[in-house]
């Protein structure tokens, strides 16, 4: 193999990987600008690099590329056949119109075909520049670095996900750098390199890069220490949606509140304190609207069914919900006054009956536990109604007796409460097992999961919530990556973890209790606003029934427990220790500590601090500027303190000596011993030594000149030189 062939082979690889690198630039641009046609642009890059590789003369390359660009434009924007007069007219027209627009600075008039054309020109220039770097400079470090920065920034601050991209970029980047270095060696070498050396060179390069990336890929990676700022950025963009019941598609900022569609959870929420209803009730209540049973890995839907079991109740009739009302205390009545119209009832737990002056019928859908209000066949909102309820009470003894074997005899209608998507990562199930492994009863397992979030660094935040895309699972992302979210994240995760352990569970939507705004006849009036929209969990225990759980940090919903077991037997569930007994917070209580990490918070804190301390900042900058000017003027006083230790760390070789020598020249210059440009080093050295009355500079210069002009760098005693050098540097700073 001749040297030329060797070089050609290495070049082919270099251009191949540069093409891959360039494609990683192209992908996000195509992705984010919604352009499409990645392949067509890719082919253009391929053609360009191939031409550069073949060193095709521009007279041939230029027309081919121009024709290709024209063909792509015609192909994308028109149905014309390429070799027709119309096509020529189209292209000609495009150029004439757009160049006129450009010249008159009428940017809006520039058409899309022409933009595509300009984009091609940009790509063309980039490939040209890359070719220059590869061929002439034989160094692609800057481009590589910028590619990495570009991808990481896009990954962090835009919806583009650079997960795979970054791996490709890094591996191909390192390979290119290595290959370019190999080529440099080949270039400097007089004859051809031994084939074995070349194979070893490239082989070891490839294996190191591939092996290290494989290991890096396989190793577990720490979760992000910084919350994803994308939702924040999107929320501040002017395009953010202001729909009022948007649990809509992720992306744009949604406003908090009740909505029907939960197919895609995630994304930031803006506060909305519009009142939804007022409840006058003696006890603090969660208001349940409906439940959902099918988790899609992105959100919730209800399982399709052919014949939903719907029971019709008249006003005043006892309602049979699948959570039986309690029996121990007297029934209570909640007066509900709606300020927004919804055709369904806000259900307190242990609902018994609904009364209203409006003539409506109620229909309870067994599928989702929703209690709709009808007038005839039409859904009708009810403005005011009274709900009679008796909060269910659970026997702790019965709960403690629930064991996993009880689950075996569950009827098939519970299957939908055990559904999990096939794509659910196994680590979620593994996590569920590890959380619950210490608990025996089903109830304790559920409590362990409920507690898990509070104890493991999760935090509540409405602004900084990721929307899973691609194959990402909503729960998996929350549990392992983001660990930041609001009720939907916590409740959905708990349901999935419960189901992973075989405990039937469902996702409940409704409103949290709201805030007391006044008292009427001694009873508190709760104002429930859109901010109180909430989701939580119901789990089913055989022989006990459905029971609510509140995994969301900052919220609590006490369940009536009957502590009917021996005290020595319960270590955890003494009232002092139960999470329920922690001082009750209103659900809207965001815990300051937990949110403090949020990006918005940090940004606004910074902004506030800046505006508060303008004068301080100004004077600090002025001070720093003066200080640095002073430091610069007197740099030779302190620079030596840095130069000496820094250079001591370097190894004793010619390159270090050369650097040190030139640093010394600079220091001498700033000291005031200037070298004329026509003055030789040895003449200068004599002059310097005459100043200090020693021979250090002549010693150094003699060695330097011998090495530089004579290319004779053997047998140099660098230690001795270093002494002379340090001596001079110290004299200069003294």
């Amino acid at each position: 193999m001749t040297k030329k062939t060797q070089q050609t082979i290495v070049s082919i690889f270099i251009y191949l990987f540069v093409f891959i690198l360039m494609m990683e630039w192209l992908k996000p641009v195509i992705d984010l600008t919604d352009t499409g046609f990645l392949a067509l642009f890719g082919w253009f890059l391929m053609i360009s690099f191939a031409f550069y590789l073949l060193k095709l003369k521009w007279v041939y390359a230029f027309p081919v590329k121009v024709v290709y660009i024209c063909w792509v434009i015609v192909h994308i924007y028109t149905d014309l056949s390429f070799l027709s007069l119309e096509t020529f007219k189209f292209i000609w027209g495009m150029f004439v119109e757009n160049i006129v627009s450009l010249l008159t600075q009428d940017w809006v008039q520039v058409t899309n075909p022409f933009r595509t054309f300009l984009f091609f020109i940009l790509l063309w220039m980039t490939t040209y520049l890359l070719n220059y770097w590869i061929r002439i400079r034989k160094n692609l470090m800057v481009f590589f670095l910028f590619t990495v920065i570009f991808i990481t920034i896009l990954d962090t601050f835009s919806p583009y996900s650079g997960e795979k991209s970054i791996v490709i970029v890094l591996t191909s980047g390192f390979i290119i750098l290595g290959l370019l270095y190999t080529q440099k060696i080949m270039h400097e070498q007089e004859g051809k390199l031994p084939g074995a050396f070349l194979v070893a060179c490239i082989g070891s390069l490839l294996s190191i890069v591939v092996l290290s990336s494989a290991i890096a890929y396989a190793l577990p990676k720490a979760g992000p220490s910084w919350p994803d700022p994308v939702p924040f950025l999107l929320s501040t963009s002017p395009n953010a949606s202001n729909g009022d019941d948007g649990r809509g598609l992720g992306g744009a900022m949604q406003k908090v509140g009740y909505g029907e569609n939960d197919e895609r959870l995630g994304g930031a929420f803006a506060d909305d304190d519009t009142p939804v209803f007022y409840a006058t009730t003696p006890t603090k209540q969660y208001w349940k609207i409906e439940t959902k049973d099918t988790y899609t890995s992105k959100g919730w839907v209800n399982s399709p069914t052919e014949s939903p079991i719907i029971t019709i109740y008249k006003l005043g009739e006892p309602i049979k919900s699948d959570i039986a009302p309690g029996t121990e205390d007297e029934s209570l009545v909640a007066k509900i006054l709606m300020s927004r119209s919804y055709p369904f009832i806000m259900q307190p737990y242990g609902i018994e009956q609904v009364d209203s002056e409006q003539p409506v019928t109620l229909s309870l859908n067994e599928r989702n536990q929703k209690l709709n209000t009808f007038n005839g066949a039409d859904e009708t909102p009810v403005g005011a109604y009274n709900v009679t309820y008796n909060e269910p009470t659970y026997s702790l003894k019965a709960l403690r007796e629930t064991v996993p074997t009880n689950l075996e005899g569950l009827p098939s209608e519970f299957d939908r409460y055990l559904q999990l998507p096939k794509t659910l990562p196994t680590r979620v199930k593994d996590l569920a097992t590890s959380i619950t492994s210490d608990s025996d009863s089903l109830y304790d397992k559920a409590k362990a999961i409920e507690r898990y979030f509070r104890l493991n660094g999760f935090s509540y935040n409405q602004d900084m919530v990721a929307v899973p895309d691609g194959d990402t699972d909503y729960v998996d992302q929350f549990l392992f990556d983001t660990k930041v979210g609001y009720c939907d994240n916590f409740s959905t995760s708990m349901v999935v973890l419960l189901r992973s352990e075989g405990i039937p569970a469902r996702w409940v939507k409704g409103f949290a209790s709201g805030e007391v705004i006044e008292r009427q006849n001694g009873l508190p009036v709760y104002e429930v606003t859109n901010n109180n929209a909430h989701s939580w969990v119901e789990a089913y225990f055989p022989n006990v029934g459905w029971m609510t759980f509140e995994p969301t940090i900052g919220f609590s919903n006490a369940v009536n427990l009957n502590y009917d077991i021996d005290t020595e037997a319960d270590e955890l569930e003494t009232p002092e220790n139960t999470p329920e007994e922690t001082p009750k917070k209103t659900p809207s209580d965001k815990e300051e500590k937990e949110v403090s990490k949020s990006f918005t918070e940090i940004m606004s804190t910074i902004a506030k601090w800046i505006s508060d301390n303008k004068a301080l900042i100004f004077w600090t900058i002025v001070g720093l500027a003066l200080l640095s000017m002073f430091a610069y003027r007197h740099r030779r006083k302190w620079l030596s303190k840095i130069l000496i230790p820094v250079n001591r760390m370097r190894k004793n070789d010619w390159d270090t000596f050369e650097k040190m020598y030139h640093q010394l020249l600079k220091q001498l210059d700033s000291y005031g011993i200037k070298r004329e440009q026509g003055q030789t080093l040895s003449a200068y050295a004599k002059y310097v030594d005459a100043n200090f009355g020693e021979t250090h500079m002549r010693k150094l210069t003699a060695v330097y000149e011998k090495g530089l002009y004579g290319n004779n760098r053997d047998g140099i005693n660098y230690e001795v030189l270093r002494e002379s050098w340090e001596n001079l540097i110290n004299q200069l700073s003294g």
Binding site: Q677, T680, G710, N711
Partner: protein, 316 residues
């Protein structure tokens, strides 16, 4: 190191007869090592002839002297074929040029025709007489002198001819104390008669071969070219130096480096030699003369303004 000792011995030998002219002796030796020729420009009686004779004696070379006069003919320099009636054929009588060290005294006194006969011999190291080419024995070193004072009846050497000399030197008057020393030495005897050769001709030829092996770094080559270029662009210079001058400067620098015992050329060598190599190769504009600037000053100015390369060239 051996080379350095040999060269030092030559110079020391010359110094025995030439008081206070070490630099001229050194430069003459440099020219000898670089296989170039020297033009000495000075008034009579400052020791030019003594210098050449001492050099010739030190290397054990054949010394010839030609006194140039207006009526000197080329054949007086090169040699002539004379009909030998006994042998019935022409017999070549070699001229004074067929020596190792030739002193061409007052070269500007003779006609251009004779001058060029000498200079061609210097350039080609051979002479052609009656169609027969004869090589001049090696080493061949010409030291020509010219008197700058008398212009009457002289034929100044044209620029093209001056280019044939590697160096142009000036002896100058000795320092009074040195002059006293000269008188002291010559009071009773002539030291030139007792001089013994310190190296053989073969050793000298070997030295000349070694000079070409002295390393000239890329940076030094570009420095030489930079200097040459600047003579071509200088406002005071009407005609800058030729590429032959660049070669001469490089060769002379190699010789000087060897004289100092180095096997590489430094900018100091180049700077030191540059006025001697370039001085007679440039033509100043009349403006320079009006401003009272000599060619040495112009060249010194160029040296001062040309940046000395002090860093490795970054190869692409």
């Amino acid at each position: 190191m051996r080379e350095r000792a040999q060269i030092a011995a030559i110079i020391e030998n010359i110094e025995k007869v030439m008081i206070g002219k070490k630099n001229i002796a050194e430069l003459a030796v440099v020219a000898l090592l670089a296989q170039g020729h020297v033009l000495l420009e000075d008034v009579p009686g400052v020791g030019k002839t003594m210098m050449v004779r001492a050099l010739a004696k030190s290397i054990g070379a054949d010394f010839k002297r030609i006194q140039f006069t207006p009526d000197l003919l080329p054949s007086d320099v090169l040699g002539v074929s004379i009909y030998n009636p006994k042998e019935m054929e022409f017999e070549f009588r070699p001229g004074p040029i067929m020596g190792n060290i030739v002193l061409a005294d007052e070269i500007n006194r003779t006609s251009p025709k004779t001058q060029s006969a000498l200079l061609e011999g210097m350039e080609e190291a051979s002479v052609t007489i009656d169609g027969v080419t004869m090589p001049i024995p090696k080493p061949f070193f010409v030291m020509a002198t010219q008197n700058p004072i008398e212009h009457e009846g002289t034929y100044p050497l044209p620029e093209a001819q001056l280019d044939r000399f590697l160096l142009k030197l000036k002896m100058g008057y000795p320092h009074p104390s040195e002059e006293i020393e000269v008188l002291n030495r010559l009071e009773h005897a002539s030291p030139i008669d007792t001089l013994m050769p310190v190296i053989s001709l073969e050793e000298l030829i070997e030295l000349q071969r070694q000079v070409k092996l002295v390393k000239v770094d890329e940076t030094m080559k570009s420095y030489i070219v930079d200097l040459s270029n600047r003579t071509r662009q200088d406002t005071y210079i009407y005609l800058g130096v030729s590429p032959r001058a660049s070669i001469a400067l490089m060769r002379a620098s190699q010789g000087l480096a060897m004289l100092y015992g180095r096997n590489y050329v430094t900018p100091d060598d180049i700077q030191y030699l540059m006025p001697f190599v370039f001085g007679h190769r440039i033509i100043l504009r009349p403006e320079a003369r009006y401003d009272g600037i000599s060619s040495e000053e112009v060249l010194n100015r160029i040296v001062k303004r040309t940046p000395v390369p002090i860093k490795r060239k970054i190869s692409q």
